[in-house]
Symmetry: C2
Subunit: 166 residues, 2 copies
Amino acid sequence: MDLESRARAEHPDELRLWLRLMTCAQIIEKRVRMGLRFEFDSTLPRFDLMAQLEKFPKGLKMGELSKRLMVSGGNVTAITDQLVAEGWVQRVDVEGDRRAWKIQLTKAGRAYFNDMAKAHETWIVDSFADLGTKEVQSLYKLLSHVKQSALHSLEDSGAVNLTEHI
Amino acid sequence: MDLESRARAEHPDELRLWLRLMTCAQIIEKRVRMGLRFEFDSTLPRFDLMAQLEKFPKGLKMGELSKRLMVSGGNVTAITDQLVAEGWVQRVDVEGDRRAWKIQLTKAGRAYFNDMAKAHETWIVDSFADLGTKEVQSLYKLLSHVKQSALHSLEDSGAVNLTEHI
DNA sequence: TATTGTTATACTCTATAACTATA
DNA sequence: TATAGTTATAGAGTATAACAATA
């Protein structure tokens, strides 16, 4: 067995872990997408954008949204346009920089998001229903470690601009 | 505080856990998608389909692929068509049922997939580089529990057909 | 010149429904 | 009639590159 093959054989655990992590994420995401679609006529990217705005009542600039959501600027424009057209978010002038603006939830948008967030929480709690409190806490800690590790790796690979604000 | 609000307040841990889990999955997925795209001119759904075929050298039927990948039949047809056109997989007659066929990796497809899988493993190992062996193993066990729990929840919500073979 | 955001474009993935061929 | 798979269609999300306006 050459060096490379040996190096591979030494690391099957991480691969199994990744497949399991991804499967878990996919299953729960499937549940969330279904719920958003059929109960709220919405989608996950739209929910994620509104969730960011809910965390920042003063609003976020397009560029900030782009970094937080890890997607391109053109993409943020497209999703924001939809949400503006439906009355859930609004563009507000930024004092001192006429190129930019803040995106905020409207009053209706806050109410709409709160309804979704409540349902969303139910789906999530259901998804983890078989786990005990300690398991949930252990997982959270371990995944915090994973997040740091994975972010370093992603930055090293050249995706610097997407990771500044996570 | 009413009952509903109290019920929500009692379950913030699962929500935090889900957000962290999803973020980890997204970060690593970002890394993998970048690699597949720039180093192999491919995509994650294509990789996933080929990974299934690699696990079953005798081949899988379209319907089996659909269930395993948790996507629609039309979708599997589209991706399979691409991979057939590029010579990585082939459709083989199924004895005794002229409606169906098995999808298999071609010889070239196996070689191509092995190259991708090797690189893929490197990206994954890098993503988990900061974790110790015990952390990796603990995570794997905990996520196995999550998988079962989330699958039950997804089935209860009415997505039965997608979960038979996972 | 650099930055913020939009527009135009194209591509991938995805689901649904109607359809063909076979069981 | 039911099943396996395809086709046609539509729509969401995504990135890139060119662009306008402003800093």
